[in-house]
């Protein structure tokens, strides 16, 4: 109760600083968090635009369950592992959680962003290591921060089109170790050396060596097309939407506080423990650190120095982690005796200007996916948006709430509206739980499915932005009880 009170006051405080406060604040103050969720759900269901999103002649695709190993700050317990180790742990966790017979799985797909060159098809290496049948094919996809979303929607397509019945989709990222390469000139020299046939050729090649060949090449943290880092773009985006440092810090604090509460209340049920070889068993996320606004205010800007607003405290941190979900055709799941958690319904990928609208994917994807599904914002009971930066989330909320933006940049007649905060990322988000690039999508979907189950809602909306100016949204429908 004490905690509830704190949360409520915190939320109202945050709300004061958000756009179109009147509407939300009014609704919010009449419906404090502590009131029974069952009651809300009952009223909500009656007013839905659609009873279900099932489509005639198209197979229903369901999520039976999904898991993730704890998301850890890079450089902590997972730092000596390889990406496929994490992915394997997630797969083992999924096997354990769902008891799915290994040989039933038709296909395995993983998403990842920074590839370990030794295991470029990390899905296959992890599946073999996790003891899946060597007859189960596996492939790896990459689409920046929405890589595991892509893995899941690929699975949905395979099932809906009748190609497969049972697919495991997941994602993995290990930021503790990244491929640092020799310089291009050094690589060229080494390759030429390997082809040189005589001592003379080798010597003449070696004589061309210069010390600066040894300077390493780091994987780019910047957008390839614009050469701008994501944090820098986020800072500009926050400025473009006139979002203050305080608002960003408040939102970050909200994320951490909600995540801590969810963790304490045992709501993060998708987390499975991971016994790290040579180390203690990891049981929970370690990046959740609710701080105080005063302390956050002390931090210096991380990207636009010295006056920017994006800091380490209001950005998602570099994270190691992996996730996996079990996706089936509904009839197969029922035949196998499963009680699915949710349907995976309409989804949408969008892309826009990678320079000035790099992180606005959710703004573009949300109205489109709602339209496609025939739903409105009011139909959605649970929103799970990927939080790359506080400034990015708040910019998206403002953009979704702006008629001007909808008309001038999205070619729409009116705004879609901004999600009510009391339904938005209420179990924490990437800012606090962590953001292993390739693995976040599955976390979003499972959080949505679990929240719908817990709160009795029917429709959930997942949305995320990704490098390259891309974005994704998907409707998750609760499986009827």
């Amino acid at each position: 109760m004490n905690q509830d009170l704190r949360m409520t006051s915190l939320l109202t405080y945050t709300l004061k600083n958000l756009p179109s406060t009147s509407q939300w604040a009014l609704r919010f103050s009449m419906r404090p968090l502590s009131c029974s969720s069952q009651l809300q759900a009952a009223t909500a269901v009656q007013t839905k635009s659609k009873q279900t999103l099932a489509k005639p002649n198209i197979r229903n695709v369901v999520v039976v369950d999904g898991v993730r190993i704890p998301f850890l700050l890079s450089g902590t317990s997972y730092k000596d592992l390889m990406p496929h180790d994490l992915a394997r742990a997630a797969l083992s966790g999924l096997l354990h959680r769902t008891s799915v017979p290994k040989d039933v799985v038709d296909y395995i797909i993983f998403g990842t962003v920074i590839q370990e060159v030794k295991t470029s098809n990390v899905a296959r290496e992890a599946a073999l290591g996790a003891g899946f049948s060597d007859k189960t094919p596996a492939h790896t996809v990459t689409m920046a921060c929405i890589s595991s979303n892509q893995a899941m929607t690929t699975a949905v397509s395979l099932i809906a089109s009748g190609q497969c019945d049972v697919v495991v989709a997941g994602g993995v990222e290990l930021m503790s170790d990244i491929p640092i390469r020799h310089s291009r000139r050094m690589r060229k020299m080494m390759l030429d050396l390997s082809k040189a046939k005589t001592l003379g050729q080798r010597l003449s090649l070696i004589s061309k060596f210069r010390l600066n060949f040894l300077s390493p090449e780091l994987p780019a943290v910047a957008e390839f097309s614009t050469n701008e880092t994501m944090g820098h773009s986020a800072d500009r985006l926050a400025a473009a939407f006139a979002i203050s440092r305080l608002e960003q810090d408040e939102y970050a604090l909200r994320s951490h506080s909600l995540a801590r509460k969810a963790q304490d209340e045992g709501l993060l049920s998708d987390v499975v423990p991971f016994k790290v070889p040579g180390k203690d068993t990891v049981t929970q996320d370690n990046g959740i650190r609710p701080s105080s606004l005063e302390q956050m205010a002390k931090l210096k800007p991380a990207f636009i120095k010295p006056y920017g607003t994006v800091t380490a405290a209001n950005s998602s941190f570099l994270t190691d982690g992996a996730s996996a979900v079990l996706i089936l055709a509904e009839e197969k799941a029922l035949a196998m005796g499963y009680k699915p958690k949710a349907y995976l319904r309409d989804f949408m990928y969008v892309s826009q200007d990678p320079k000035d609208q790099l992180l606005l994917g959710p703004t573009y994807a949300t109205p489109k996916v709602l339209e496609k599904a025939g739903l409105t914002m009011n139909d959605i009971d649970a929103f799970e948006f990927h939080e790359a930066f506080s400034g990015q989330i708040l910019a998206n909320l403002k953009a979704m709430d702006s008629d001007w933006f909808a008309q001038n940049y999205m070619g729409r007649k009116a705004k879609v509206g901004s999600p009510p905060l009391e339904k938005f990322n209420i179990w924490g988000g990437s800012l606090s739980l962590g953001h292993p690039f390739g693995a976040t999508g599955c976390r979003l979907v499972m959080a949505t499915a679990n929240r719908l189950q817990k709160e009795g809602g029917q429709y959930g909306l997942v949305a995320a932005c990704a490098a390259g100016g891309q974005g994704h949204a998907m409707i998750v429908e609760a499986y009827p009880k």
Binding site: T226, N227, R236, A240, F241, A242, K355, Q357, F405, N408
Partner: protein, 763 residues
């Protein structure tokens, strides 16, 4: 080392550079200022920071004129006397422009150097008060900050600039034949060091924000914003203001120091500059370099060096005094009048007076991937035009595509483009050997070999595949467009677009209209040319149009002078010392001996005796020996890859000797030789105006200077007649006429101007 850096940075200073002067715009302010309502400047107070916003009415840019100046003084007095205000932000409300410079009309309206000096002194006094302000003033710069605008900005305590492509800081005064007259000669050397200050003031180059930050010219950068709650440009200015306010507060609270940490190189440079001997060496080197490059034809650069020197060696009081006096003197020179005239002409020739075409050209097709064709493609693809480049063979096409790529890649090397932008631009180019896609073309520009029957063949082939709306433009230097259009089914869509080589460097585009060319076709051609970044003159069709026609008699005279025994080197030095950027003999090599012969022959047939002079035989014999100029490696000079100093081609001597004509001593002095060349050029130019080939003298001047390298310090043939005196030119022509005959007979319009001294091409 410092000296060599200073000189190195000057090496790009050439006469042709003098004309690149972005956005320095003159305006007439006729509105009278009311006492209470300010029209150019307003200010508001945010907390304890005064936000002073500059926004000149009815103009795209802010210029420092009398009104803005006096309003600024008023506002600053209020700011200084208010107890509530502790600091100030100076910002422009106009997107893309902080202050683009001084109001040129204010200067040209002055009749004596004293008046100009007085204007300079008033500005100096004002900016000195700004510099000494106890309340910190932050200049928030978005867009062009040039000339007087820069001088104001560097008087402030702190500068914040947006990292936008449009944000350019510079002192372009030298390009107008004057010097920075409001303190920059004194403040810049202190701020960025003497070598960099010389570089800025002597080349007039514009400096982008990120470079300005590195140099210490600005203190902070602000990134331009994308769309958000408002349009990007609007919100960026707002954001710049917000950031500037926090810095103004920080400065007032002494939380931020206006002093900048200097890097090691800077520290070493400033140490070196504290040694008198080093300074003297630098002045000497810079002066030598300037003398060599300007050949004494441009007084402004030397005066700039002098004023900077005075300030450093004798203190700022002497420096400011010298600055204002020399500013006054320079503003009264012929050179500055010529250069200012060119600047105005350039501004005029960057407008489309034919209005917007009915259909915007989006898909362009170019026939012929030679130097010209590929050059046209290069300046089109980076402006977002979808461009087809067609040639007959894969090898020729490949060469052209490589030329386009190299042009773009050179920009990447200079950091003007990112490699990603290069790739995106290059993908606008489609290379092909057939006419696929021509059915969607909005404009076809042919740049095939200069042969009428070939042009006819190409025109017919193209007309079979292009849509009705498509414009057919011919890039020819001499073939009359109406003759090319003779075989066209739709002559109203045929036009001439005469580009100059190298296309990516030469700013001029000569557009040629026939009697049948429709206005909409002309509007399309001008629009495409402007998009390609060209300065455009529109002339009537006729043999040689305007530019080639003016050049031909001069070229004929070049050959005669060579036949008379003046060597190519001597001739080159005579022409460059007159102000031509390229010597006359070298010009023949650059143009190509075969092209020169082709043009001379064609135009000679049409214009007869007036175009006679040198013997065509010289060119013919050169061609027969394979001396085609630079492209064949030999012409008057020998050209070798990687060899900078070109040597004379001694084989030419026998040709010239065999065709030698006796020289006439009374018209063969160095000066006479120069004037024989120039007066023939000028006479033909004036005749073009008389015959209506040219619509305005301005276009004539712009065409001559930007396309043919007519000496910029003379302002073009028409400005030259005005400034030098029509009578004097007629006198010279008469003198040469006596020796050589009709080739020098002055045309009627020129004689009209000579007989009534009040008649001027520019009133």
């Amino acid at each position: 080392m410092v000296a060599s850096r200073a000189v190195g940075s000057l090496s790009r200073f050439t006469a042709s550079r003098m004309l690149r002067c972005p956005g320095y715009i003159c305006r007439n302010f006729t509105r009278s200022s009311a006492l209470l309502t300010r029209t150019h400047i307003n200010y508001g107070v945010k907390g304890d920071v005064a936000v002073i916003r500059i926004n000149s009415p009815n103009s795209k840019v802010n210029t420092l004129g009398q009104e803005l100046h006096s309003e600024f003084i008023e506002v600053m007095n209020e700011v200084w006397s208010s107890s509530q205000i502790r600091s100030a932000v100076l910002i422009s409300s106009k997107p893309g422009c902080f202050i683009a410079g001084a109001d040129l009309n204010m200067l040209t309206a002055c009749t004596t150097s004293q008046e100009v000096t007085q204007i300079s002194q008033e500005a100096q006094r004002m900016f000195e008060r700004v510099e000494k302000s106890t309340k910190p003033i932050v200049a928030a710069i978005n867009g062009s900050c040039l000339g007087g605008g820069l001088e104001l900005a560097i008087s402030c305590q702190y500068r914040i600039a947006t990292k936008d492509k449009k944000t350019v800081l510079g002192s372009p005064e030298v390009l107008l034949g004057i010097l920075p007259g409001a303190g920059a000669t004194q403040r810049l050397p202190k701020m960025v060091g003497v070598p960099a200050a010389f570089d800025m003031m002597l080349t007039g180059r514009g400096i982008r924000a990120d470079r300005a930050k590195k140099m210490g010219l600005v203190d902070q950068l602000v990134e331009p914003l994308g769309p958000g709650i408002k349009p990007p440009e609007e919100r960026t200015i707002e954001y710049l203001e917000e950031v500037a306010i926090t810095f103004a507060k920080g400065l007032a609270d002494k939380k931020i120091s206006p002093k900048r940490d200097k890097g090691l190189v800077e520290k070493l440079t400033s140490y070196a500059m504290s040694i008198p001997f080093v300074r003297q060496q630098i002045y000497k080197k810079v002066e030598e370099k300037v003398r060599k490059q300007t050949k004494g034809l441009y007084p402004a650069p030397l005066k700039i060096i002098d004023v900077v020197k005075t300030g450093i060696e004798q203190g700022s009081d002497a420096g400011y005094l010298s600055e204002s006096q020399k500013f006054g003197e320079l503003a009264m020179t012929k050179e500055s009048k010529a250069l200012m005239g060119l600047y105005r002409g350039q501004t005029l020739c960057k407008k489309n007076k034919f209005g917007a075409p009915q259909k915007e050209v989006k898909q362009l097709a170019i026939l012929g991937a030679g130097l010209m064709g590929a050059g046209i493609a290069q300046v089109s693809v980076d402006k977002g035009l979808q461009t087809i480049l067609k040639d007959a063979t894969l090898a020729a096409l490949g060469r052209g595509q490589q030329q386009v790529f190299r042009g773009l890649n050179d920009k990447v090397k200079k950091k003007a483009l990112t490699s990603f932008e290069r790739d995106a631009f290059f993908s606008n180019l489609t290379g092909q050997l057939d006419y696929q896609g021509f059915e969607k073309a909005d404009m076809v520009i042919e740049a095939v070999f200069e042969d009428l029957s070939l042009k006819h063949k190409v025109l017919k082939e193209v007309e079979a595949v292009i849509p009705d709306r498509c414009v057919f433009a011919s890039n020819t230097s001499a073939l009359p467009i109406s003759e090319i259009a003779a075989v066209s089914k739709r002559p109203e869509k045929v036009i001439g677009m005469h580009y100059f080589s190298p296309v990516d460097k030469m700013q001029l585009l000569e557009i040629i209209t026939t009697q049948k060319t429709s206005k909409d076709t002309t509007a399309s051609a001008v629009e495409v040319g402007l998009k390609q970044g060209k300065v455009i003159i529109v002339v009537k069709d006729g043999p040689g149009f305007y530019t080639t026609r003016c050049l031909a008699p001069m070229m004929s005279e070049v050959i005669r002078i060579l036949q008379e025994g003046v060597g190519p080197k001597k001739l080159d030095s005579l022409t460059t010392s007159f102000g031509f950027p390229v010597g006359a003999a070298t010009l023949v090599d650059e143009v190509g001996v075969d092209v020169a012969k082709h043009v001379a022959e064609n135009l000679g047939k049409v214009f007869g005796e007036r175009f006679a002079g040198g013997s065509l035989e010289v060119l013919k014999q050169m061609i027969s020996k394979g001396f085609l100029g630079r492209k064949s490696g030999k012409g008057f000079y020998i050209y070798q890859e990687g060899v900078k100093n070109k040597n004379l081609n001694s084989d030419i001597n026998s040709i010239l000797a065999s065709l030698k004509v006796p020289s006439q001593p009374d018209v063969s002095s160095d000066e006479d030789i120069q004037y024989r060349l120039v007066t023939r050029f000028v006479n033909e130019a004036v005749l073009c105006l008389q015959e209506g080939v040219l619509a305005t003298p301005t276009e004539g001047d712009i065409g001559a200077v930007f396309g043919l390298g007519f000496p910029p310090c003379l302002g073009g043939p028409f400005r030259f007649v005005d400034l030098y005196g029509a009578q004097k030119i007629v006198d010279r022509l008469r003198k040469y006429e006596a020796a050589y005959g009709k080739q020098f007979t002055p045309c009627q319009l020129l004689m009209d101007h000579a007989s009534s001294p009040n008649k001027k091409f520019y009133q």
